[in-house]
Symmetry: C2
Subunit: 236 residues, 2 copies
Protein backbone atom coordinates (compact mmCIF):
# COMPACT_ATOMS: atom_id res chain seq x y z
CA UNK A 1 0.00 0.00 0.00
CA UNK A 2 1.61 3.18 -1.22
CA UNK A 3 0.56 6.74 -0.62
CA UNK A 4 1.57 10.32 -1.25
CA UNK A 5 1.27 12.67 1.73
CA UNK A 6 1.18 16.42 1.16
CA UNK A 7 3.51 17.77 3.82
CA UNK A 8 3.60 21.51 4.42
CA UNK A 9 5.56 21.45 7.66
CA UNK A 10 2.59 22.48 9.79
CA UNK A 11 0.73 20.56 12.49
CA UNK A 12 -2.07 19.33 10.23
CA UNK A 13 0.06 17.72 7.56
CA UNK A 14 2.48 16.26 10.13
CA UNK A 15 -0.53 14.65 11.83
CA UNK A 16 -1.79 13.33 8.50
CA UNK A 17 1.64 11.80 7.84
CA UNK A 18 1.60 10.06 11.24
CA UNK A 19 -1.96 8.87 10.48
CA UNK A 20 -0.96 7.38 7.08
CA UNK A 21 2.00 5.60 8.67
CA UNK A 22 -0.18 4.27 11.51
CA UNK A 23 -2.46 2.73 8.86
CA UNK A 24 0.49 0.87 7.36
CA UNK A 25 1.03 2.93 4.22
CA UNK A 26 4.39 3.22 2.56
CA UNK A 27 4.68 7.00 2.22
CA UNK A 28 6.30 9.47 -0.16
CA UNK A 29 5.92 12.98 1.23
CA UNK A 30 5.56 15.92 -1.11
CA UNK A 31 6.33 19.56 -0.36
CA UNK A 32 6.40 22.68 -2.48
CA UNK A 33 8.74 25.52 -2.93
CA UNK A 34 6.13 27.93 -4.30
CA UNK A 35 7.98 31.16 -3.75
CA UNK A 36 6.88 31.46 -0.13
CA UNK A 37 8.32 34.55 1.49
CA UNK A 38 10.32 32.29 3.78
CA UNK A 39 11.59 28.72 3.60
CA UNK A 40 11.14 27.94 7.30
CA UNK A 41 8.04 25.84 6.59
CA UNK A 42 9.90 23.81 3.95
CA UNK A 43 12.78 23.15 6.35
CA UNK A 44 10.26 21.92 8.91
CA UNK A 45 8.73 19.59 6.34
CA UNK A 46 12.18 18.11 5.65
CA UNK A 47 12.84 17.58 9.35
CA UNK A 48 9.45 15.93 9.91
CA UNK A 49 10.01 13.55 6.95
CA UNK A 50 13.44 12.72 8.36
CA UNK A 51 11.96 12.14 11.83
CA UNK A 52 9.55 9.56 10.40
CA UNK A 53 12.15 8.10 7.99
CA UNK A 54 10.08 8.64 4.82
CA UNK A 55 10.97 9.87 1.32
CA UNK A 56 10.58 13.60 0.73
CA UNK A 57 10.08 15.09 -2.73
CA UNK A 58 10.20 18.88 -3.11
CA UNK A 59 8.68 20.38 -6.26
CA UNK A 60 9.38 23.97 -7.25
CA UNK A 61 6.31 25.86 -8.52
CA UNK A 62 6.96 29.54 -8.81
CA UNK A 63 3.54 30.94 -7.93
CA UNK A 64 5.05 34.42 -7.56
CA UNK A 65 4.69 34.64 -11.36
CA UNK A 66 0.90 34.75 -10.94
CA UNK A 67 0.94 36.90 -7.78
CA UNK A 68 -2.17 37.62 -5.72
CA UNK A 69 -1.43 36.55 -2.14
CA UNK A 70 0.16 37.85 1.04
CA UNK A 71 2.13 34.59 1.22
CA UNK A 72 3.87 35.06 -2.12
CA UNK A 73 3.89 38.82 -2.69
CA UNK A 74 4.30 42.02 -0.74
CA UNK A 75 0.77 42.34 0.73
CA UNK A 76 1.08 42.65 4.56
CA UNK A 77 0.22 39.60 6.69
CA UNK A 78 -2.56 40.81 9.07
CA UNK A 79 -1.85 40.93 12.82
CA UNK A 80 -4.42 39.74 15.35
CA UNK A 81 -4.88 39.81 19.10
CA UNK A 82 -7.49 37.06 19.42
CA UNK A 83 -9.16 34.24 17.46
CA UNK A 84 -12.39 36.27 17.26
CA UNK A 85 -10.68 38.80 15.02
CA UNK A 86 -10.14 36.12 12.39
CA UNK A 87 -13.19 36.50 10.19
CA UNK A 88 -14.80 33.99 7.88
CA UNK A 89 -14.02 35.99 4.74
CA UNK A 90 -11.35 34.60 2.39
CA UNK A 91 -8.08 35.80 3.93
CA UNK A 92 -5.37 37.72 2.02
CA UNK A 93 -3.03 34.82 2.80
CA UNK A 94 -5.12 32.61 0.49
CA UNK A 95 -2.88 31.63 -2.43
CA UNK A 96 -5.11 31.37 -5.52
CA UNK A 97 -5.77 27.72 -6.33
CA UNK A 98 -2.79 26.57 -4.27
CA UNK A 99 -4.30 23.37 -2.94
CA UNK A 100 -5.63 22.49 -6.37
CA UNK A 101 -2.14 22.90 -7.80
CA UNK A 102 -0.63 20.82 -5.00
CA UNK A 103 -3.20 18.03 -5.35
CA UNK A 104 -2.59 17.95 -9.10
CA UNK A 105 1.13 17.54 -8.61
CA UNK A 106 0.44 14.92 -5.93
CA UNK A 107 -1.66 13.07 -8.54
CA UNK A 108 1.31 13.10 -10.92
CA UNK A 109 3.60 11.77 -8.18
CA UNK A 110 1.01 9.13 -7.23
CA UNK A 111 1.15 7.87 -10.83
CA UNK A 112 4.93 7.74 -10.78
CA UNK A 113 5.28 5.97 -7.40
CA UNK A 114 2.17 3.83 -8.07
CA UNK A 115 0.22 5.06 -5.04
CA UNK A 116 -3.52 4.60 -4.58
CA UNK A 117 -3.93 7.22 -1.85
CA UNK A 118 -3.20 10.91 -1.55
CA UNK A 119 -3.39 12.17 2.02
CA UNK A 120 -4.19 15.83 2.36
CA UNK A 121 -4.38 17.82 5.60
CA UNK A 122 -7.24 20.12 4.56
CA UNK A 123 -9.34 21.36 7.41
CA UNK A 124 -12.74 22.94 6.95
CA UNK A 125 -13.22 24.09 10.54
CA UNK A 126 -10.46 26.54 11.34
CA UNK A 127 -9.87 27.45 7.69
CA UNK A 128 -13.45 27.97 6.61
CA UNK A 129 -12.33 30.99 4.61
CA UNK A 130 -10.26 28.86 2.21
CA UNK A 131 -12.50 27.45 -0.53
CA UNK A 132 -10.01 24.68 -1.31
CA UNK A 133 -10.30 23.19 2.19
CA UNK A 134 -13.94 22.15 1.78
CA UNK A 135 -15.04 18.48 1.45
CA UNK A 136 -16.91 19.11 -1.82
CA UNK A 137 -13.71 20.49 -3.34
CA UNK A 138 -11.75 17.41 -2.25
CA UNK A 139 -14.34 15.12 -3.87
CA UNK A 140 -14.31 17.17 -7.09
CA UNK A 141 -10.50 16.95 -7.26
CA UNK A 142 -10.62 13.20 -6.64
CA UNK A 143 -12.98 12.86 -9.57
CA UNK A 144 -10.78 15.02 -11.83
CA UNK A 145 -7.70 13.02 -10.79
CA UNK A 146 -9.34 9.73 -11.69
CA UNK A 147 -10.51 11.04 -15.06
CA UNK A 148 -7.22 12.72 -15.87
CA UNK A 149 -4.58 10.16 -14.96
CA UNK A 150 -3.37 6.89 -16.42
CA UNK A 151 -4.17 5.00 -13.18
CA UNK A 152 -7.73 6.35 -13.21
CA UNK A 153 -8.26 5.37 -16.85
CA UNK A 154 -6.96 1.89 -16.06
CA UNK A 155 -9.54 1.60 -13.29
CA UNK A 156 -6.94 1.64 -10.52
CA UNK A 157 -8.53 4.48 -8.59
CA UNK A 158 -6.56 7.07 -6.62
CA UNK A 159 -8.43 8.16 -3.51
CA UNK A 160 -7.89 11.54 -1.89
CA UNK A 161 -8.25 11.32 1.88
CA UNK A 162 -8.55 14.39 4.04
CA UNK A 163 -8.79 12.76 7.47
CA UNK A 164 -8.73 16.05 9.40
CA UNK A 165 -11.34 17.86 7.38
CA UNK A 166 -14.00 18.00 10.10
CA UNK A 167 -11.71 18.18 13.13
CA UNK A 168 -11.04 21.30 15.17
CA UNK A 169 -7.44 22.38 15.66
CA UNK A 170 -7.61 21.10 19.26
CA UNK A 171 -8.79 17.69 18.05
CA UNK A 172 -5.99 17.59 15.48
CA UNK A 173 -3.43 18.39 18.18
CA UNK A 174 -4.82 15.65 20.43
CA UNK A 175 -4.71 13.18 17.52
CA UNK A 176 -1.16 14.25 16.60
CA UNK A 177 -0.14 13.84 20.23
CA UNK A 178 -1.49 10.26 20.30
CA UNK A 179 0.30 9.46 17.02
CA UNK A 180 3.64 10.82 18.24
CA UNK A 181 3.90 13.93 16.05
CA UNK A 182 7.04 15.92 16.91
CA UNK A 183 5.28 19.28 17.35
CA UNK A 184 8.60 20.96 18.10
CA UNK A 185 9.62 20.32 14.46
CA UNK A 186 6.45 21.81 12.96
CA UNK A 187 6.03 25.40 11.81
CA UNK A 188 2.79 27.35 11.39
CA UNK A 189 3.77 31.04 11.45
CA UNK A 190 3.18 33.02 8.25
CA UNK A 191 6.44 34.85 8.97
CA UNK A 192 9.79 33.13 8.84
CA UNK A 193 11.79 34.44 11.79
CA UNK A 194 13.88 32.52 14.31
CA UNK A 195 10.81 32.41 16.53
CA UNK A 196 7.13 32.22 15.54
CA UNK A 197 5.53 35.68 15.67
CA UNK A 198 2.49 34.88 17.85
CA UNK A 199 0.43 37.51 16.00
CA UNK A 200 -0.54 36.13 12.57
CA UNK A 201 -3.77 34.13 12.01
CA UNK A 202 -1.83 30.91 11.83
CA UNK A 203 -0.02 31.43 15.17
CA UNK A 204 -3.27 32.49 16.84
CA UNK A 205 -5.14 29.39 15.63
CA UNK A 206 -2.24 27.16 16.64
CA UNK A 207 -1.98 28.58 20.16
CA UNK A 208 -5.75 28.45 20.63
CA UNK A 209 -5.63 24.80 19.51
CA UNK A 210 -2.93 23.87 22.00
CA UNK A 211 -4.83 25.67 24.76
CA UNK A 212 -8.09 23.91 23.96
CA UNK A 213 -6.34 20.55 23.63
CA UNK A 214 -4.81 21.08 27.07
CA UNK A 215 -1.18 21.03 25.92
CA UNK A 216 1.64 23.51 25.84
CA UNK A 217 3.05 24.41 22.40
CA UNK A 218 6.75 23.47 22.41
CA UNK A 219 7.66 26.28 19.96
CA UNK A 220 9.06 29.58 21.18
CA UNK A 221 7.22 32.78 20.22
CA UNK A 222 8.27 36.40 19.87
CA UNK A 223 5.07 37.54 21.62
CA UNK A 224 2.38 35.48 23.28
CA UNK A 225 -1.23 36.70 23.20
CA UNK A 226 -2.49 37.59 26.71
CA UNK A 227 -5.06 34.79 26.77
CA UNK A 228 -2.43 32.16 25.99
CA UNK A 229 0.06 33.59 28.52
CA UNK A 230 -2.74 33.42 31.15
CA UNK A 231 -3.48 29.83 30.18
CA UNK A 232 0.19 28.89 30.65
CA UNK A 233 0.23 30.71 33.98
CA UNK A 234 -2.85 28.70 35.04
CA UNK A 235 -1.09 25.37 34.20
CA UNK A 236 1.73 25.99 36.69
Amino acid sequence: MRSVVLLSGGIDSATVLAHALSRGYEVTTLSFDYGQRHSRELESAGRIAEHFGVKHVVVTVDLRAIGGSALTSQIAVPERRSPEEIGSEIPVTYVPARNMIMLSIAAGLAEVVDADRIFYGANAIDYSGYPDCRPEFVRAMERAINLGTKRGVEGREIRVEAPLITLTKAEIIRLGHELGVPFELTWSCYRGGEKACGRCDSCILRLKGFMEAGFEDPLTYETLPDWYAEYLEGRK
Copy 2:
Protein backbone atom coordinates in the same frame (compact mmCIF):
# COMPACT_ATOMS: atom_id res chain seq x y z
CA MET B 1 -14.31 39.99 -20.82
CA ARG B 2 -11.05 38.55 -19.59
CA SER B 3 -9.60 35.14 -20.21
CA VAL B 4 -6.54 33.01 -19.58
CA VAL B 5 -5.26 31.02 -22.57
CA LEU B 6 -2.95 28.07 -22.01
CA LEU B 7 -0.27 28.53 -24.65
CA SER B 8 2.19 25.73 -25.26
CA GLY B 9 3.67 27.05 -28.48
CA GLY B 10 2.04 24.36 -30.64
CA ILE B 11 -0.60 24.67 -33.35
CA ASP B 12 -3.55 23.81 -31.10
CA SER B 13 -2.95 26.40 -28.40
CA ALA B 14 -2.01 29.09 -30.96
CA THR B 15 -5.34 28.42 -32.68
CA VAL B 16 -7.16 28.61 -29.35
CA LEU B 17 -5.51 31.96 -28.67
CA ALA B 18 -6.63 33.31 -32.06
CA HIS B 19 -10.13 31.95 -31.33
CA ALA B 20 -10.33 33.70 -27.91
CA LEU B 21 -9.18 36.98 -29.48
CA SER B 22 -11.70 36.63 -32.31
CA ARG B 23 -14.44 36.35 -29.68
CA GLY B 24 -13.35 39.67 -28.17
CA TYR B 25 -11.65 38.39 -25.03
CA GLU B 26 -8.87 40.31 -23.36
CA VAL B 27 -6.24 37.57 -23.03
CA THR B 28 -3.44 36.68 -20.64
CA THR B 29 -1.49 33.75 -22.04
CA LEU B 30 0.11 31.23 -19.70
CA SER B 31 3.03 28.93 -20.46
CA PHE B 32 5.04 26.56 -18.33
CA ASP B 33 8.66 25.86 -17.87
CA TYR B 34 8.20 22.34 -16.51
CA GLY B 35 11.66 21.01 -17.06
CA GLN B 36 11.04 20.12 -20.70
CA ARG B 37 14.12 18.66 -22.32
CA HIS B 38 14.25 21.68 -24.59
CA SER B 39 12.93 25.24 -24.39
CA ARG B 40 12.11 25.58 -28.11
CA GLU B 41 8.38 25.22 -27.40
CA LEU B 42 8.51 27.95 -24.76
CA GLU B 43 10.32 30.33 -27.13
CA SER B 44 7.60 29.68 -29.71
CA ALA B 45 4.92 30.49 -27.13
CA GLY B 46 6.63 33.81 -26.41
CA ARG B 47 6.81 34.67 -30.11
CA ILE B 48 3.16 33.78 -30.69
CA ALA B 49 2.05 35.95 -27.72
CA GLU B 50 4.18 38.78 -29.10
CA HIS B 51 2.68 38.32 -32.57
CA PHE B 52 -0.83 38.76 -31.15
CA GLY B 53 0.24 41.53 -28.73
CA VAL B 54 -1.03 39.76 -25.58
CA LYS B 55 0.43 39.36 -22.08
CA HIS B 56 2.50 36.23 -21.50
CA VAL B 57 3.06 34.75 -18.05
CA VAL B 58 5.56 31.90 -17.67
CA VAL B 59 5.33 29.75 -14.53
CA THR B 60 8.15 27.42 -13.54
CA VAL B 61 6.98 24.01 -12.29
CA ASP B 62 9.82 21.59 -11.98
CA LEU B 63 8.10 18.33 -12.88
CA ARG B 64 11.47 16.62 -13.23
CA ALA B 65 11.31 16.20 -9.44
CA ILE B 66 8.46 13.70 -9.88
CA GLY B 67 9.87 12.07 -13.04
CA GLY B 68 7.95 9.56 -15.12
CA SER B 69 7.87 10.85 -18.72
CA ALA B 70 9.93 10.89 -21.89
CA LEU B 71 9.38 14.65 -22.07
CA THR B 72 11.00 15.38 -18.73
CA SER B 73 13.41 12.48 -18.17
CA GLN B 74 15.77 10.28 -20.13
CA ILE B 75 13.26 7.81 -21.61
CA ALA B 76 13.71 7.79 -25.44
CA VAL B 77 11.12 9.61 -27.60
CA PRO B 78 9.76 6.94 -29.99
CA GLU B 79 10.38 7.35 -33.75
CA ARG B 80 7.66 6.64 -36.29
CA ARG B 81 7.37 6.31 -40.05
CA SER B 82 3.61 6.77 -40.39
CA PRO B 83 0.51 7.86 -38.42
CA GLU B 84 -0.67 4.23 -38.25
CA GLU B 85 2.25 3.36 -35.99
CA ILE B 86 0.93 5.75 -33.34
CA GLY B 87 -1.18 3.50 -31.16
CA SER B 88 -4.05 4.39 -28.85
CA GLU B 89 -2.19 3.31 -25.69
CA ILE B 90 -1.02 6.06 -23.32
CA PRO B 91 2.28 7.21 -24.82
CA VAL B 92 5.58 7.45 -22.91
CA THR B 93 5.53 11.18 -23.65
CA TYR B 94 2.51 11.55 -21.33
CA VAL B 95 3.60 13.73 -18.41
CA PRO B 96 1.71 12.50 -15.33
CA ALA B 97 -1.13 14.91 -14.52
CA ARG B 98 0.46 17.69 -16.57
CA ASN B 99 -2.75 19.20 -17.93
CA MET B 100 -4.36 19.02 -14.50
CA ILE B 101 -1.41 20.92 -13.05
CA MET B 102 -1.56 23.49 -15.85
CA LEU B 103 -5.32 24.01 -15.51
CA SER B 104 -4.92 24.44 -11.75
CA ILE B 105 -2.31 27.14 -12.23
CA ALA B 106 -4.50 28.72 -14.91
CA ALA B 107 -7.31 28.81 -12.32
CA GLY B 108 -5.02 30.67 -9.92
CA LEU B 109 -4.09 33.15 -12.64
CA ALA B 110 -7.76 33.54 -13.60
CA GLU B 111 -8.48 34.60 -10.01
CA VAL B 112 -5.64 37.10 -10.04
CA VAL B 113 -6.50 38.71 -13.42
CA ASP B 114 -10.26 38.37 -12.76
CA ALA B 115 -10.95 36.19 -15.80
CA ASP B 116 -14.13 34.17 -16.28
CA ARG B 117 -12.76 31.90 -19.01
CA ILE B 118 -9.85 29.51 -19.31
CA PHE B 119 -9.17 28.44 -22.88
CA TYR B 120 -7.45 25.12 -23.23
CA GLY B 121 -6.32 23.48 -26.46
CA ALA B 122 -7.06 19.88 -25.45
CA ASN B 123 -7.87 17.60 -28.30
CA ALA B 124 -9.48 14.22 -27.87
CA ILE B 125 -9.11 13.03 -31.46
CA ASP B 126 -5.41 12.91 -32.25
CA TYR B 127 -4.39 12.54 -28.59
CA SER B 128 -6.83 9.86 -27.55
CA GLY B 129 -4.06 8.25 -25.51
CA TYR B 130 -3.83 11.19 -23.10
CA PRO B 131 -6.49 10.84 -20.38
CA ASP B 132 -6.33 14.56 -19.58
CA CYS B 133 -7.47 15.54 -23.09
CA ARG B 134 -10.95 14.02 -22.70
CA PRO B 135 -14.13 16.14 -22.37
CA GLU B 136 -15.19 14.47 -19.11
CA PHE B 137 -11.86 15.43 -17.57
CA VAL B 138 -12.29 19.06 -18.66
CA ARG B 139 -15.76 19.17 -17.05
CA ALA B 140 -14.45 17.60 -13.83
CA MET B 141 -11.64 20.18 -13.64
CA GLU B 142 -14.11 23.00 -14.26
CA ARG B 143 -16.17 21.75 -11.33
CA ALA B 144 -13.10 21.49 -9.07
CA ILE B 145 -12.00 24.99 -10.11
CA ASN B 146 -15.37 26.48 -9.21
CA LEU B 147 -15.45 24.71 -5.86
CA GLY B 148 -11.84 25.52 -5.02
CA THR B 149 -11.45 29.18 -5.92
CA LYS B 150 -12.63 32.47 -4.46
CA ARG B 151 -14.42 33.42 -7.70
CA GLY B 152 -16.29 30.11 -7.67
CA VAL B 153 -17.35 30.52 -4.03
CA GLU B 154 -18.57 34.03 -4.82
CA GLY B 155 -20.72 32.60 -7.61
CA ARG B 156 -18.68 34.25 -10.37
CA GLU B 157 -18.08 31.05 -12.30
CA ILE B 158 -14.91 30.31 -14.25
CA ARG B 159 -15.63 28.29 -17.37
CA VAL B 160 -13.05 26.03 -18.99
CA GLU B 161 -13.45 25.99 -22.76
CA ALA B 162 -11.73 23.43 -24.93
CA PRO B 163 -12.93 24.56 -28.37
CA LEU B 164 -10.77 22.08 -30.30
CA ILE B 165 -11.65 19.01 -28.29
CA THR B 166 -13.59 17.23 -31.03
CA LEU B 167 -11.70 18.57 -34.06
CA THR B 168 -9.18 16.60 -36.09
CA LYS B 169 -5.72 18.07 -36.58
CA ALA B 170 -6.64 18.98 -40.18
CA GLU B 171 -9.74 20.85 -38.94
CA ILE B 172 -7.65 22.69 -36.36
CA ILE B 173 -5.18 23.73 -39.05
CA ARG B 174 -7.98 24.97 -41.30
CA LEU B 175 -9.49 26.93 -38.39
CA GLY B 176 -6.09 28.35 -37.46
CA HIS B 177 -5.52 29.36 -41.07
CA GLU B 178 -8.85 31.26 -41.13
CA LEU B 179 -8.00 32.98 -37.84
CA GLY B 180 -4.56 34.07 -39.03
CA VAL B 181 -2.37 31.82 -36.86
CA PRO B 182 1.32 32.31 -37.71
CA PHE B 183 2.11 28.60 -38.17
CA GLU B 184 5.74 29.43 -38.90
CA LEU B 185 6.10 30.54 -35.26
CA THR B 186 4.60 27.37 -33.78
CA TRP B 187 6.56 24.32 -32.63
CA SER B 188 5.31 20.76 -32.24
CA CYS B 189 8.42 18.54 -32.31
CA TYR B 190 9.23 16.61 -29.12
CA ARG B 191 12.89 17.28 -29.84
CA GLY B 192 14.37 20.74 -29.67
CA GLY B 193 16.77 21.04 -32.60
CA GLU B 194 17.16 23.87 -35.12
CA LYS B 195 14.73 22.01 -37.36
CA ALA B 196 11.77 19.81 -36.39
CA CYS B 197 12.76 16.12 -36.53
CA GLY B 198 9.91 14.81 -38.72
CA ARG B 199 10.00 11.47 -36.92
CA CYS B 200 8.35 11.86 -33.49
CA ASP B 201 4.59 11.34 -32.94
CA SER B 202 4.02 15.06 -32.73
CA CYS B 203 5.78 15.83 -36.05
CA ILE B 204 3.95 12.96 -37.76
CA LEU B 205 0.52 14.15 -36.56
CA ARG B 206 1.34 17.73 -37.54
CA LEU B 207 2.46 16.83 -41.07
CA LYS B 208 -0.52 14.53 -41.56
CA GLY B 209 -2.77 17.40 -40.43
CA PHE B 210 -1.27 19.86 -42.90
CA MET B 211 -1.56 17.30 -45.67
CA GLU B 212 -5.21 16.56 -44.89
CA ALA B 213 -6.01 20.27 -44.54
CA GLY B 214 -4.48 20.85 -47.95
CA PHE B 215 -1.71 23.19 -46.79
CA GLU B 216 2.05 23.09 -46.69
CA ASP B 217 3.68 23.26 -43.26
CA PRO B 218 5.93 26.36 -43.24
CA LEU B 219 8.42 24.75 -40.78
CA THR B 220 11.60 23.11 -41.99
CA TYR B 221 12.24 19.48 -41.08
CA GLU B 222 15.35 17.34 -40.73
CA THR B 223 13.62 14.46 -42.51
CA LEU B 224 10.24 14.32 -44.19
CA PRO B 225 8.24 11.08 -44.13
CA ASP B 226 7.84 9.62 -47.66
CA TRP B 227 4.07 10.13 -47.74
CA TYR B 228 4.42 13.84 -46.92
CA ALA B 229 7.24 14.34 -49.44
CA GLU B 230 5.02 12.71 -52.07
CA TYR B 231 2.14 15.00 -51.09
CA LEU B 232 4.37 18.06 -51.55
CA GLU B 233 5.56 16.71 -54.90
CA GLY B 234 1.92 16.33 -55.98
CA ARG B 235 1.14 19.97 -55.08
CA LYS B 236 3.71 21.35 -57.54
